[in-house]
């Protein structure tokens, strides 16, 4: 197993000690794309932030290749995180954004940046200002930036949600082929089941901070673990084998 998390719990002290993530355990194999699927506010983004170290755990451990990285600083984990709205550095060009992780590691950037821009279909965009790009282009740049330093684990936080439907479907296909081509281990957070089923090898369903089911898209669809899962997936409860 590449990543193993067990008993991960996150509490928000500023929100009356509300439990956002409640005792979640999961594993991900090398090269696997795991979807985390759940309704808005279910704690899936918080779980993602906890995995990369941006949230402090109230309980639980995070292991990578068997080594405990629960207390490792965010920047030492060798992961990458892509946000819903990209969070490109607006004061830097496309090239500078994509090459950021390489410069941080003192690695040569130029050739790799060109290669990545070609991979995401933006060859020749290097000198553009990121603010001059469309929403879809910005997300492609954000993906290229995340992939640049070949992260051990790529975390994607609803990367397609801010785009319109047609663009979303096209990018979902591209994303799947890029992740497969680079054999990238990834966690993909979304509230859109079609997106999750199209991109991910397995999906984990989170409702109210709890992990309620893990399985392949087919397993989850055919046999939802509970009425809540069935209802979230929009399946008719009477038809499914609850």
């Amino acid at each position: 197993m590449a990543l193993e998390i067990s008993g991960v719990t996150v509490r928000f002290e500023s929100a009356g000690n509300r439990v956002a993530v409640d005792d979640v355990s999961l594993d991900i194999g090398t090269g696997e794309v795991l979807g985390i699927l759940g309704p808005s506010g279910s704690g899936k983004s918080t779980l993602l932030r906890a995995i990369c170290g941006l949230e402090t755990l109230a309980a639980g451990t995070v292991l990578w290749d068997g080594a405990d990285i629960t207390d490792l600083a965010v920047h030492e984990r060798g992961f990458a995180l892509m946000f819903q709205d990209g969070q490109l550095f607006t004061h830097q060009s496309v090239t500078q954004n994509v090459g950021y992780a390489l410069r941080v590691r003192r690695l040569p950037a130029a050739a790799r940046v060109d290669e990545l821009l070609a991979l995401v279909g933006l060859a020749g965009f290097g000198d553009r200002r990121v603010t001059s790009l469309s929403g879809g282009e910005q997300q492609r740049v954000a993906l290229a930036r995340s992939l640049a330093a070949s992260p051990r684990l790529l975390l994607l936080d609803e990367p397609l949600s801010s785009l319109d439907r047609e663009l979303r479907e096209r990018l979902a296909r591209d994303l799947r082929s890029i992740l497969t081509a680079t054999k990238q281990t990834a966690i993909f957070v979304t509230h859109d089941q079609d997106e999750a089923f199209a991109i991910c090898d397995r999906v984990a369903i989170i409702i109210d901070g709890r992990l309620v089911q893990v399985g392949t898209p087919a397993q989850v669809r055919l046999a939802p673990a509970s009425a809540a899962v069935a209802s979230f997936l929009g399946l008719d409860v009477a038809d499914s084998a609850v």
């Binding site: 984990r77 995180l81 941080v104 603010t131």
Partner: protein, 534 residues
């Protein structure tokens, strides 16, 4: 619209541009301007001193202010609101009070007397930084609070250390506000008057104190006007820089403040240490001032305060100090009313977004004109009032309106800078929905703009009141001997030492500071973030 542009412009034209132009024009009264004044070694030395002191003080204010902005606007802890309120206090402290407080602190026998800094260049620098840290903290903090932390997080996850995140992601996004704050501080420092006059003695000065000296002591108006022009050129340059920096900073998307603050971590220890040490140092002059005010003759007591009912030893004053306080309060109320009214009209116009490029240019120019009083020497202004408004068509010499008008001009830019960002933050669609729902334009103005800006206007009134209360540069020219304000009285008392006069000056400074702090405490309860930010 016409009213909103016309009234402020007319006000500025009559009470600002005309006096300043008249004052400057004196320099050309006998043909060529007295340019030789610029070649005098003394002038060159003072221009150098002015620039050096403004540059050093702005850099120091930024170096101290940015870590404090981080602590007060990025970290979440108990008492943060109170500290944010306290940090603005030095900024509104009357210059004369700060001058007196620093002398008390640094003189032989004072708390920091062993440093032997009394009457040195360093003492002036310290006082200037003391005033201006708040400008940096408020300006940079306001921007910082609104920056989306996810960009930092993205960099962190990509492998950047906290230091690297700060240098490559945070700092570039803060840069426009840091530049804006630094240029405003530079501006304030290069036109500093009261504090330099009190601390500088005869050895140190600025262009501003020199203008004052040339006009009041040597009656060399031509030389003074040349210096005024030199100062205006410097100031205009800085304003252009500040406006550019401000313009760029608005390109960043802002997020709600509650999303960006977090609990302190170990990596915050450096900024926290800077903030704590600075906090103690900021409190020291006030402590020294209060302690000295309670020393009466050879013992402790409230004798200095009791003496405020009188006119001082050797009849230093024309009226008792308490009466001067009364004058100050009345005049400050009038000045506040004028400043807020004009600023509100101007801001309503400035907050519109015209479609045409020409309209946008015109608004930028209007904005710049409103900021001018920020940098034009209050001394030039005060003296300009005397030379222009004392004869027909406007004979206001005997009228008591001159002082409040001058103070209103000084406060005007600060009021605009408090109200305008709030008005600009209103989504135009909110006005459009009000109109669609059937509101005529005046009603849209009332129900949307004025309703939203009510609290900021109240807060800005408090700020204007505090600034007017402490205004010294222009007031010292304009207040009539029988109706002096408190800062003028304090300066007069320091100028005539002997007897209980110095003690009285200290006690009066404490009273003035207490009133100012009281006003600012009320203002802070309104929780308007734009106060003191540029």
């Amino acid at each position: 619209m016409a009213l909103g542009v016309g009234v402020p412009l007319a006000f500025l034209a009559i009470f600002f541009l005309w006096p300043v132009v008249a004052m400057v024009g004196r320099g050309f009264s006998d043909g060529l301007p007295a340019l030789e004044v610029l070649a005098r070694p003394r002038t060159l030395r003072l221009i150098g001193l002015t620039l050096a002191q403004a540059a050093i003080a702005s850099v120091a204010s930024v170096l101290i202010g940015v870590p404090i902005a981080h602590v007060l606007y990025r970290l979440r802890f108990r008492g943060r609101g109170l500290l944010r309120a306290l940090v603005i206090v030095p900024f509104v402290m009357p210059t004369v009070v700060v001058g007196v407080a620093f002398r008390t602190l640094l003189r032989e026998g004072g708390i920091l007397g062993f440093l032997e800094l009394d009457g040195t260049f360093v003492a002036i620098l310290l006082a200037l930084v003391y005033f201006n840290i708040a400008v940096v903290v408020r300006t940079v903090g306001g921007t910082w609070e609104g920056l989306d932390t996810r960009q930092e997080e993205a960099a962190q996850v990509l492998g950047a250390t906290p230091r690297r995140v700060f240098v490559t992601v945070t700092l570039p996004r803060l840069a426009p506000s840091v530049v804006a704050a630094a240029s405003i501080v530079f501006l304030f420092c290069s036109t500093a008057f009261g504090v330099v006059l009190v601390l500088g003695g005869s050895r140190f000065g600025t262009i501003e104190t020199e203008i004052w000296l040339l006009t009041t002591q040597f009656l060399d108006l031509r030389a003074a006007s040349v210096l005024s022009i030199a100062q205006i050129v410097i100031v205009a340059g800085m304003l252009v820089l500040a406006a550019r920096a401000r313009g760029r900073s608005t390109a960043e998307r802002r997020v709600g403040a509650s999303h960006s603050a977090r609990a302190p971590r170990r990596s915050d220890s450096l900024p926290v240490a800077v903030a704590v040490v600075t906090g103690v140092l900021l409190a020291l002059p006030v402590v020294a001032l209060v302690a000295r005010s309670l020393q009466f003759r050879d013992g402790w007591g409230i004798g200095n305060y009791l003496a405020l009912a009188g006119t001082g030893s050797r009849n230093a004053l024309a009226v008792p100090v308490w009466q001067a306080l009364g004058n100050s309060l009345v005049i400050a109320v009038q000045a506040t009313a004028i400043a807020v009214l004009i600023a509100l009209m101007a801001s309503l116009v400035l907050s519109r977004r015209p479609r045409s490029v020409r309209g946008q240019r015109a608004l930028e120019l209007f904005d710049g004109v409103l900021m001018l009083p920020l940098g034009v020497s209050a001394v030039t202004l005060g003296f300009g009032f005397l030379v222009t408004l004392n004869q027909p068509p406007l004979d206001l010499r005997s009228s008591p309106v001159l002082v409040p008008i001058a103070q209103a001009l000084v406060a005007l830019p600060l009021v605009v800078r408090t109200i305008l960002p709030v008005l600009r933050g209103i989504d135009p669609r909110m006005r459009e929905s009000a109109a669609v729902l059937g509101s005529p334009p005046w009603r849209v103005l009332r129900d949307v703009d004025l309703a939203i800006v009510a609290r900021p206007v109240l807060a800005a009134s408090g700020l204007a009141f505090a600034v007017a209360l402490g205004e010294f540069g222009a007031t010292t020219f304009l207040s009539r001997p029988d109706r002096p304000t408190l800062p003028v009285v304090i300066y007069r008392l320091i100028g005539l030492p002997g007897g209980d006069n110095f003690g009285m000056a200290i006690a009066a400074a404490v009273v003035l500071a207490a009133v100012t702090v009281g006003v600012m405490a009320i203002v802070e309860r309104l929780r308007v973030g734009t106060i003191g930010a540029f």
